[in-house]
């Protein structure tokens, strides 16, 4: 079957256009992957096409790229998945949020430096003695198998909506890696780790948009891990960030009234003595007043709030254990 590849090209040494698209049509069989086609193009049509690939088995994580607008592993994606009315048209671009070196190859230095910044190794105050092992039970490690399945392909980083606007954000891959060590029963640097992660550009800057969950080819669920880190941070008393306060005020509102008190949420998150932040709310407050969109100042309780409160009492006390 014929497959049309429209590939984004970039050549820093070119004296013509730095960025352009080239279209190739190749004949592939039904079982072919997007990577098979790209290799065919490179070997038979255009040997200047540059891409990274190695294992062709979704293990090495080299061939993450954007295919029809979404990050995925080219070796793990069949061209036939994109068949529409008998036609297969692919738009192939390099992964996003990373500087392009050439064509589909991006610079992973920022990616690795963020992973390194979370100290991705065990820190134990009682390391095993020479020739001994630090034994952890199967049950205490099993829940980490998902997050340890990360192959560092960068698909989550490519499509992260926060990195699109803020390159300083630690990002889903590094945060998932941080979770992996925070949750390891052999590690006892949790407090230091959480303290570092609560800083700006850390765990609280994630928007919970779930792009990373959607594109991860290994089911690592980076956003779920970030949510867990937030949970751990709150449990361990790291409550002095706007993120932790926002969660606390939101939860409090549901607990006390059954639903969200939108009027109080910003006031209590910032704190009523935080004049600088509260002044920043003035423009939106004035705009909302003019458009009559100010949420009710007097927030009523839901009719069956006592039932909601009983559930809070019962379930909120069952502290989520660090599995």
């Amino acid at each position: 079957m014929k497959v049309e590849y429209k590939v984004k090209r970039y050549n820093p040494e070119s004296d013509v256009a730095l960025e352009s698209f080239d279209t190739y049509v190749v004949e592939l069989d039904q079982a072919a992957t997007v990577l098979d086609g790209l290799i065919k193009i490179r070997e038979e049509v255009d040997n200047t096409l540059t891409l990274r690939c190695s294992c062709r088995s979704a293990i090495c994580g080299s061939c993450a790229m954007r295919i029809n607008g979404q990050a995925m592993l080219a070796c793990n994606t069949k061209v036939s998945d994109f068949e529409e009315n008998g036609n297969i048209k692919l738009l192939v671009e390099p992964p996003g949020n990373m500087p392009v070196i050439k064509d589909l190859v991006v610079d992973f230095v920022p990616f690795w430096s963020k992973v390194k910044s979370v100290d991705p190794w065990l820190k134990s105050s009682h390391p095993p003695k020479y020739m001994e092992e630090h034994i952890a039970s199967n049950e205490s490690m099993l829940h980490l198998s998902g997050v340890m399945g990360c192959i560092m392909c960068g698909a989550c980083v490519s499509d992260c909506t926060v990195l699109e606007v803020d390159k300083s954000f630690l990002g889903p891959a590094a945060l998932a890696k941080a979770y992996r060590f925070v949750s390891d029963p052999r590690d006892d640097s949790t407090k230091f780790r959480l303290k570092a992660l609560e800083k700006p550009s850390g765990m609280w800057d994630c928007t919970r948009c779930m792009q990373c969950v959607e594109v991860c080819p290994k089911g690592v669920d980076p956003m779920g891990r970030i949510m867990k880190l937030r949970d751990f941070a709150i449990q361990d008393g790291y409550k002095n960030t706007y993120g932790a306060k926002h969660t606390a005020v939101f939860t409090d509102s549901v607990k006390n009234t059954g639903w969200l008190n939108e009027f109080q949420l910003p006031l209590r998150t910032f704190g009523i003595f935080n004049v600088f932040k509260l002044l920043g709310l003035l423009p939106i407050l004035l705009d909302a007043l003019v458009s009559r969109k100010v949420p009710p100042v007097f927030h009523h309780k839901l009719p069956s709030v006592s039932s909601i409160q009983r559930i809070f009492k019962k379930v909120d006390l069952q502290i989520t254990k660090r599995e």
């Binding site: 779930m210 792009q211 969950v213 706007y242 939106i284 003019v290 909601i308 559930i311």
Partner: protein
């Protein structure tokens, strides 16, 4: 009339009253009877925020809502993408783990509630396709919106995670908003940001990043010629509408892109008066749309 247990969410009863009012008007026209009473005591879904602190607590509160819906025997309708997504995620966890469901039901037993797993929370956008029929919806359109260009903006929780939302089983869910825009006669402005994040969840945590997102999406749609953006998510509306003036300052560029709620778009196509749809209750003025409509026969 098709009856639904109505879950309006917090925001349509708070900072987006225009969504609540326009929903009631439009649903009545579409033969959707919204039953308010059964869920008047239903809690907030937690919006993903409460779940940061305690996911099981969020799941129990949502199971409580589902149990209340089951008692009515009615399907569940919401008008908020975030509520829809958070409820779908809770439901997915409850349905896929019998032990977990049993555990949660034990906590609900004191409230005389039990959830068997039969509820499927549905946004109005999906109900249009799956329960009412898009042809019937189209048959209610009396005013062509030809000449307008509208960009869709979904909100994260109605498109991700795709497996939890069963997008492959219900392919209309992938492009329902585009289909509705085109059905009104308006021209569709497609742009890559339509399924991205509006920035609302981090508004109080990192306002700069949040506002940058507003600027990127609204300007991207505007540069493609959009006259307005349409969203099924009131939280996206709050950010894209309310923080558009800030985004405009940040980008040093005028934006002025009205952000319509889904029912407002439906209502305009049904020939309902803009004031009845509360188009005057937006921060970014919708006057240009209203004045174009008033000269359109």
């Amino acid at each position: 009339m098709k009856k639904f247990a109505f879950y309006p969410g917090c925001v349509s009863r708070g900072a987006c009253p225009e969504l609540f009012d326009s929903t009631l008007t439009v649903c009545e026209r579409l033969g959707i009877e919204l039953i308010h009473e059964p869920l008047e005591g239903a809690s907030c879904t937690g919006a993903g925020v409460l779940q940061e602190k305690n996911q099981k607590l969020g799941d129990t509160l949502n199971a409580r809502t589902f149990a209340m819906v089951e008692k009515t025997g009615l399907p569940l309708l919401t008008i908020c993408s975030t509520c829809q997504g958070v409820m779908a995620q809770a439901n997915y966890r409850l349905r896929s783990d019998k032990n977990y469901l049993d555990e949660i039901n034990r906590d609900l037993a004191d409230e005389n509630l039990q959830y068997s797993g039969s509820v499927e929370p549905k946004h109005l956008l999906w109900v249009l396709f799956e329960d009412i029929g898009v042809d019937y919806v189209k048959s209610q359109f009396t005013r062509s919106l030809e000449g307008f260009k509208f960009a869709p903006f979904y909100g994260c929780y109605i498109v991700r995670p795709s497996d939890v939302l069963a997008l492959d089983v219900n392919p209309d869910r992938k492009n329902s908003l585009e289909q509705i825009i085109e059905a009104t006669g308006a021209e569709l402005v497609d742009f890559p940001g339509k399924t991205a994040c509006c920035g609302f969840p981090i508004l109080l945590i990192n306002e700069t990043n949040s506002t940058k997102m507003v600027g990127n999406h609204t300007l991207s749609a505007k540069r493609k010629g959009a006259d307005a953006m349409v969203t099924p998510c009131p939280l996206c509306h709050l950010n894209l509408d309310g923080y558009q003036p800030s985004a405009s300052l940040l980008r040093r560029e005028k934006i002025n892109l009205p952000i319509l709620h889904l029912p407002q778009l439906l209502g305009l196509a049904m020939g309902i008066e803009p004031t009845e749809l509360k188009l005057n209750r937006h921060i970014v003025s919708t006057k240009k749309i209203i004045s174009t409509l008033s000269v359109t026969p």
